[in-house]
């Protein structure tokens, strides 16, 4: 297989997107969606076919040199190594299923061309991130993904709230990109190159302080894109976009880009202990924060959004404690079951006649048992029921976190376990409110189209079985994923502690389920308690940001405009002009029309001349 074929993986969605952009509005609806699905599935097939190219050191191939200037060389090149191969497969696979689902979901939408074009461009940009061999090409994908999510979130732009949600997403991720750009610049000025391989190879030369700085910057960039603590407020609002968008962007691909970046630059990140600690801390805190917020959410998609944020916190925790394979394992399983849940949510919304609020739904189990069973699988994986994919991946992370041992990591492990309990609680709360009890929704929902339904089972299957990929030794597994990624095997904990930990996880899982069962089995009525509204609005994050960031920013801008430009610079200029006018007026008043006054002027002039001659002659 010729490595240049690798370029077809990102090029296909790009062509699909460009064709839809240019001619989409003229093509019939079916052709548009068909074209985009074909493009993405084509690149999925290629990813599977070219899988062996990714083994071992991976292959590096360059198409053309993008930016070449004195000493700086950034070209459009692909580094297809094990990590990238896994990620590409996941991205293209999930994207294909989501495109199929979207073909059904957006059937009656009036501008499908724009939707599918943006969706394809999004996949292209994501593949650029995954496959890029240098940081600048990765940055291109990084911001491309930002723009596509802006376009897709604000797809139903007529309601300007959606458009501003899109804008918020773009700007918050842009702040993250800022840190990533600074890291990129710093790496270039340190190494003189932006090639990922070369950087990772020569990373040992840097002094620790610089390493920590770079890691923190990369963490900032990853937080922006993966909606982690400081820059997380855009993810819940991003639910304003259509459901396939939420499924693709906010479950499978874009939010995992941050984790992928950290894994890609892991040699650099792992060398600075403070950096790792920071990553782990951010991950754990975000997990806890998001899980607590998910407890009180009213809209189905916002619950899933917060749960995504929390699961990604786990992945950051995994990278923080040093297991890339753990993070990637959880990333894979999470991608499958979260995509399943989001698409299921789409079906649920259709069933409930467009109703989003879970308190005004219910009793959908009878309405369509098929959606219920698929949704149940997703919930089980999310909650971490034993033997499901979610359980193994989350457990692996918590094991390594526990193994990291000392006080700081122990507390993070504690937070992780607590969040696991919360996760199972809110997942079952969602399940009971939506599917059990009496039907409370007002509108008459319609069954989701077959296309939407038939894309769910494969994801359910994948969600359940990915656990086998990286089975810990306890269960006789031999961690294929870690082997494939060439990462060190998880060091062996004494069997007793491992079983104890598993048992502890089980207790938290069952506890969460029981509490949810007790509380929500029968509809408890519309809860509006004080602390719930605090959690509902994500610990008032938006209001805090508005107060400490946006309001002062607007004030500074207005001050600069009125104060700086108008008053200061223009003021000075116009002040000068007025001064001249003022003094001009005085001189004008001198000529007052009195003849005598003028004659006196002559006389004084004469006196001056005579005086001058007198002085001249006296000398």
């Amino acid at each position: 297989m010729n490595p240049l074929l690798l370029f077809l993986i990102p090029i296909l969605p790009l062509f699909g997107g460009v064709i839809n952009v240019c001619f989409g509005s003229r093509l019939p609806h079916r052709l548009v969606s068909g074209l985009s699905v074909a493009a993405v599935s084509g690149s999925f097939l290629l990813a599977t076919l070219l899988w062996p190219l990714g083994s071992g050191e991976g292959t590096r191939v360059v198409l053309f040199s993008w930016l070449k200037s004195a000493g700086f060389q950034a070209d459009v090149g692909i580094l297809f190594d094990p990590l990238a191969a896994v990620m590409t497969l996941m991205v293209t696979g999930v994207a294909t299923l989501i495109h199929l689902y979207a073909a059904g979901y957006m059937a009656e939408d009036e501008s499908p061309a724009r939707f599918f074009a943006l969706l394809n461009l999004f996949v292209f940009a994501m593949l650029c991130i995954v496959l890029a061999d240098n940081l600048l090409f990765l940055f291109l994908g990084w911001e491309g993904v930002g723009f596509c999510s802006y376009g897709l979130i604000g797809f139903w732009y007529r309601n300007s709230k959606n458009a501003s949600a899109g804008r918020k997403a773009f700007i918050v991720t842009r702040i993250g990109d800022l840190f990533f750009a600074i890291a990129l610049l710093w790496l270039f000025s340190a190494f003189g190159t932006v090639m990922i391989e070369q950087i990772n190879a020569r990373v040992a030369e840097l002094d620790p302080l610089l390493l920590t700085g770079l890691t923190l910057l990369l963490l900032g960039g990853a937080c922006g894109k993966s909606a982690q603590l400081p820059l997380m407020s855009w993810l819940p609002d991003a639910m304003a976009g259509p459901t396939p968008v939420s499924a693709l962007i906010h479950a499978a691909t874009m939010v995992t880009a941050g984790v992928y970046l950290l894994c890609r630059m892991f040699p650099l990140v792992s060398l600075s202990p403070t950096g790792m600690a920071a990553i782990a801390l951010v991950g754990a805190l975000t997990a806890l924060y998001a899980a607590s917020c998910a407890l009180a959410q009213r809209e189905i998609k916002r619950v899933l959004a917060y749960s995504t944020m929390s699961q990604i916190g786990y992945m950051f925790l995994a990278v923080g404690v040093g297991t890339v394979s753990g993070a990637m394992f959880h990333l894979l399983t999470h991608a499958f079951f979260k995509a399943l849940l989001f698409m299921g949510a789409g079906c649920v919304i259709h069933l409930a006649g467009g109703e989003n609020d879970i308190y005004r739904m219910g009793g959908l189990k009878e309405k369509s048992p098929q959606v219920f069973w698929l949704f149940l699988v997703g919930i089980l994986c999310l909650a971490g029921t034993p033997l499901t994919g979610g359980f193994f991946s989350k457990d692996a992370i918590l094991l390594t976190a526990f193994a990291a041992g000392d006080g700081f990591y122990a507390t993070l492990w504690g937070i992780g376990v607590l969040t696991a309990g919360l996760t199972s609680f809110y997942s079952f709360r969602l399940l009971y409110l939506v599917f059990f009890g009496t039907a409370r929704q007002a509108g008459q929902g319609h069954a989701p189209s077959p296309l939407m339904l038939w894309t769910l089972p494969p994801l359910a299957l994948l969600g359940l079985c990915t656990g086998l990929l990286n089975l810990p030794h306890l269960f006789g597994g031999h961690e294929w994923l870690t082997l494939w990624l060439g990462q060190p095997m998880a060091e062996m904990l004494p069997v007793g502690t491992e079983i104890g930990l598993l048992f502890l996880m089980l207790i938290f899982f069952v506890g969460g389920w029981v509490i949810a069962h007790v509380r929500y089995r029968t509809f408890p009525g519309d809860e509006q308690a004080g602390w719930r509204s605090f959690l509902l609005s994500g610990w008032q994050a938006d209001r805090v940001y508005e107060l400490i960031l946006l309001r002062p920013y607007r004030a500074i801008c207005r001050f600069c405009w009125q104060g700086g430009d108008k008053a200061l610079i223009d003021g000075v200029m116009e002040g000068l002009a007025r001064l001249c006018l003022h003094w001009g007026d005085y001189v004008r008043r001198l000529s007052n029309g009195q003849v005598a006054f003028y004659l006196q002027g002559f006389a004084w002039g004469l006196l001056l001349i005579v005086g001058w001659f007198l002085l001249a002659s006296v000398k």
Partner: protein, 495 residues
């Protein structure tokens, strides 16, 4: 410094005086505006074709691609010398392209069309003259020639308070260029005094031996004119007023070209003539540029008029260009020159779009616009593309220039580079605010709701293609820039 490429046919003079010929024709046939329209379009197209031909023929060339020299005013030693190297070739190409767009955008000019087209063509001569001339007096002549048509374009064909804007524009630039004239003459006398041969040729004047004090004063004299033209921080207030009041063709020229003449003046005249003073002033320039980037970006965020937002964004982008120059290394200079050209195309495109939006919706106020996407999908798509390029989305034009500038600036001084990157976030903030209030949301009642006409497609497609092409594959442009920039950096000299 005899020219190594003897040009049989004076191409440069043709390039220079063709637009003036067009002007005369326009003025002669001023009663039939339709004829004038076609003449001016034809002139600008021929200039573009000639420029493209010259570009193609000098792909591999180095040093002076084209050079012309003739005596002009003997007694004072003023010669008619024109020279074109990689940098001026690209800038002339940019001028030719944007002029065609300017003529096309003001196709249905009702108010005294013949005079309008004549002035636009005179401006083209002025700008090309600035980019080509190597004799200081000739440079100064074209430097002032540019001013007059722009003054009338703003003053006569402008919008609400056009007179204020025109007068402000005129005074700002004139005040600056007076210092330039004084400096030129003083330098001329110094040179004459030392070497006996009184001449205004650039490379001759570079040989004058100057005391540090003299050099600094002369340098400041030159730089004042250029800093006002490139609106650097304290001297930028004329730009937003001039932009809001200028007619579409005027603001395309103003943003796309006039700002570049300032930067070109710096790298061609100010830095080579006074290298020591230039080195001393670099930190100061960098600080002004940085302040300019943030200050303009912040103000752009609270503007209500679309043109003012773009005007302040130009100030921010030019801040990047100057930051690149202040970093004084090959990478940053190539980046800033590339950014200059890309910015010309992007902002030119943006102003063309704003003119189209204003034709259709009758207003430029962000508050009154909304939901353009539903009514004009094609127009909005192009507008979105240009806005994205302006906010520096990778893969589009401005990013290529900006990233090189940032890389170079970071290498020169991590603090500057790091802070400049923050400008990227602010530029996203204000550009997205424009896109938000113009394209999304409920669409309001509009004067016309016909999407793009053929003429408009003709303008937008090449500009959009260039924006994408220069973003994805800027190598040919960088190829042209490499050799002249390295020469300017080391010897500050002539190829």
């Amino acid at each position: 410094m005899t020219p190594d490429v003897a040009t049989p046919f004076p191409l440069l003079s043709l390039l220079l005086w063709l637009p003036l010929g067009g002007t005369l024709l326009c003025l002669l046939l001023r009663h039939s505006s339709n004829l004038c329209r076609w003449i001016s379009l034809l002139t600008t197209l021929t200039v573009l074709v000639v420029a493209l031909g010259m570009a193609v023929s000098s792909i591999g060339g180095s040093g002076w691609l084209f050079y012309e020299d003739a005596a002009w005013i003997e007694p004072f030693g003023i010669r008619y010398t024109l020279g074109m190297d990689g940098i001026s070739l690209l800038l002339v190409l940019l001028t030719a392209l944007l002029q065609v767009a300017a003529i096309l955008i003001s196709w249905r000019q009702k108010q005294r069309p013949a005079l309008f087209y004549a002035l636009v063509l005179v401006m083209e001569t002025g700008i090309i003259g600035v980019f080509l001339s190597l004799d200081l007096i000739l440079f100064y002549l074209f430097w002032e020639l540019m001013l007059i048509p722009m003054f009338f374009l703003i003053g006569v064909w402008g919008h609400e308070n056009r007179v204020y804007a025109a007068v402000k524009f005129f005074f700002f630039t004139l005040a600056g260029s007076l210092f330039l004239l004084l400096a030129i003459i003083w330098l001329y006398l110094l040179h004459g005094g030392q070497t006996g041969d009184y001449s205004f040729a650039l490379d001759a004047l570079r040989q004058t031996v100057l005391t540090p004090g003299q050099e600094m004063i002369l340098y400041i004299g030159f730089m004042l004119a250029f800093i006002v033209k490139v609106p650097l921080f304290p001297f930028h207030t004329w730009l937003p007023d001039a932009h809001t009041e200028a007619p579409p063709a005027g603001s395309v020229d103003l943003a796309g070209l006039l700002l570049k003449t300032g930067v070109y003046g710096m790298i061609r005249f100010a830095f080579p003539l006074f290298p020591a003073a230039a080195q001393k002033s670099l930190p100061f320039l960098a600080i002004l540029a940085l302040v300019g980037i943030f200050y303009a970006a912040w103000i752009a965020y609270v503007q209500t008029d679309m043109k003012r937002v773009i005007a302040y964004s130009s100030v921010a982008h030019l801040g990047f260009v100057i930051l690149g120059l202040a970093a004084w290394n090959q990478l940053a200079w190539e980046g800033s020159l590339l950014l200059m050209i890309n910015h010309g195309i992007t902002t030119g495109g943006l102003f063309v779009m704003i003119a189209m939006i204003q034709d259709r919706s009758g207003t430029r106020e962000l508050g009154k616009l909304g939901g353009l996407w539903t009514v004009f999908p094609n127009l909005s798509a192009f507008f979105l593309l240009f806005c994205l390029s302006s906010l520096g989305l990778p893969g589009l034009a401005n990013f290529a220039g900006e990233i090189l500038v940032l890389l170079g600036a970071f290498k020169a001084d991590p603090l500057w580079g790091g802070m400049a990157v923050a400008g990227v976030v602010f530029s996203a903030a204000y550009m997205l605010r424009v896109v938000q209030s113009a394209l999304w949301g409920e669409s309001k009642k509009l004067a016309r709701n016909d999407d793009l006409a053929v003429r408009e497609w003709l303008i937008l497609v090449p500009l959009a293609a260039l924006v994408v092409l220069l973003g994805v594959y800027p190598a040919p442009v960088l190829e042209f820039l490499r050799e002249p920039v390295s020469l300017l950096l080391e010897t500050g000299g002539m190829p």
